[in-house]
């Protein structure tokens, strides 16, 4: 039995189709990244997996039952994308409540409060007021609440958004500890590097559809991570979009922008062709990368509004 099974799931908000027919199966014990730009439908997919929203069509099964049942049994731990901590309680009181709530329904053992604080790297924050923490600290507290019941499935919606590098590193160390204990982890991100570094499998979604699905190596071969740009050559007979690594390109009167999966090879080929003028190599924004992947019009505005509405 898979940890998560989605079949033909759709969800619209008004006229906007946020999720447009997604089929997805997540095997147990794996760490999977849901990668996509803002407004791709990641948060909506996750909210249906958690039973917060019902799909318009299709079925969502989590750990062999409905999402609601899995939540009530304490088998899903979730960290929604947004959310702050409540005032009036200390970190120990807050996490302690969540831990006891899980202990009251759990069939197996749940970690002790001290273990939990240790895993989430918040032992030193136990006595602090929950609403007086930095962003990174608060995010680790939220993570502790997500894994308090030793869940079989951990769902993290953009866990590292708006965190500095040190906070990211600490949070991922905590997430890895739980993954190593056998939990299935699903996290969403819009950083290809993060998906690449942490996930066994990457599911790329854009405009409510799965546009690519595979291992990190397979995805990186398809998703251009860099943009190489040079001044437009005077002779137009050179077809730069055919250079090695180039997935797609944009040309205007002054510049040629090549979206590439292998910037080294592309630059070497440009040099060999004598086309290096004002060379610039930059990380491609994921939006650009997905446009090239889906070969579609740049019409991302509507889905972004839909996801904003969800928040």
């Amino acid at each position: 039995m898979d940890a998560v099974e989605l079949h033909g799931v759709t969800k619209s908000f008004g006229a906007v189709r946020a999720v447009d027919g997604i089929d997805l199966r997540l095997a147990r014990g794996r760490t999977v990244a849901l990668l996509g730009p803002n407004g791709a439908g990641k948060s909506t997919v996750i909210s249906m997996m958690l039973g917060l929203r019902a799909p318009d069509a299709g079925t969502v099964r989590v750990l062999g039952g409905t999402p609601e049942r899995a939540v009530r049994a304490g088998r899903i731990g979730a960290m929604p994308q947004t959310g702050r901590l409540i005032g009036g309680v200390t970190v120990r009181e807050l996490v302690g409540f969540v831990q006891r709530a899980h202990a009251a329904v759990a069939r197996g053992p749940v970690p002790s409060l001290d273990d939990l604080l240790g895993v989430a790297r918040i032992s030193d924050l136990a006595g602090r007021r929950a609403d007086a923490l930095s962003g990174g600290q608060a995010q680790r507290v939220r993570f502790a609440m997500a894994v308090a019941g030793s869940p079989d499935l951990i769902v993290l919606d953009e866990p590292t958004a708006a965190l500095d590098i040190e906070s990211r590193r600490e949070l991922w160390a905590a997430i890895r500890t739980c993954a190593d204990r056998g939990a299935t982890v699903l996290f969403s991100t819009h950083y290809l590097e993060e998906a690449d570094a942490e996930a066994d499998r990457i599911v790329v979604v854009d405009r409510g559809r799965v546009v690519a699905d595979g291992t990190s190596e397979e995805i990186k071969r398809r998703v251009p991570g860099r943009t190489v740009s040079v001044d437009a050559p005077t002779s137009l007979d050179a077809d730069l979009s055919a250079l090695p690594g180039v997935v797609s390109s944009e040309v205007d009167a002054r510049r040629v922008r090549l979206h590439t999966t292998d910037s080294d090879a592309t630059v070497l080929a440009l040099a060999a062709a004598g086309a290096v003028r004002n060379l610039e190599v930059s990380g491609a924004s994921l939006e650009e990368a997905f446009l090239s992947l889906t070969h579609a019009e740049p019409a991302l505005v509507a889905p972004i509004q839909a996801e904003e509405a969800v928040r």
């Binding site: 958690l50 917060l52 702050r84 901590l85 009181e93 928040r311």
Partner: protein
Amino acid sequence: MILFHYVRLEMLRLLRDPGYLIMTLVSPLTMYLVFTNLDLGTGKGADGAVYSMVGMAGFGAIGAVMTNGVSIAEDKPLGWIRQLRLLPLGPSQAVIGRAVCAMVAALPPIVAVCAAGGLVDGVALSPGRWVAVFLLLWLGIAPLAVLGVGFGYLLTAQKAQMAALVFYMGLSMLGGLWFPIGKMPSWLADVARITPVNRYGELSWNVAGGHAPTLVGVGVLSAWAVAFTVFSVVGYRRAAQAL
């Protein structure tokens, strides 16, 4: 068990906000002392004092449970309701837990007004009746506590504040907590008799006067309790969907 843990957490938050608890008893206590000492038509002598004592204690209790909804509305933008929804805590448990906290917040005005009635205005009841009046004032507020919780889930803090005020003042007056519904036009008194507030006050007025609560009164109050519970559970589910 999980409900106990939840109530304990929310109680911690409530007790660390003493300003709110003090505010809940100032206005009913003041009004009670003014009403009974100026005799604004609530009846003369001991009967009037008992009537006003129950009325103002109930008025204070309604204020406390309605205002409690505002703090729930303030939790929503934090994502706290959704966080709870992702725990093994069921929607009805969440609603009940929060309503129990609201009922605890209703204790200070009930205790303060009853104490003023006994100590200042010489309300004399047998010990058994004192206990019964006190318990009915406290337990009878449960349906309205659930309603206040529902407002908190469904409305923004600002709108919950307005709804709280409208229900607090409006229902208290219509329900006959300020002056007896016998002094109202008969059509208005008929309306008053189907409000939960009037039936809530009636429980204690009857017991203080040596009568048992009426079956109809308990029935009306129970029907409102069911309706308000459904309302609040739906509100909780909606509050958990978005932030």
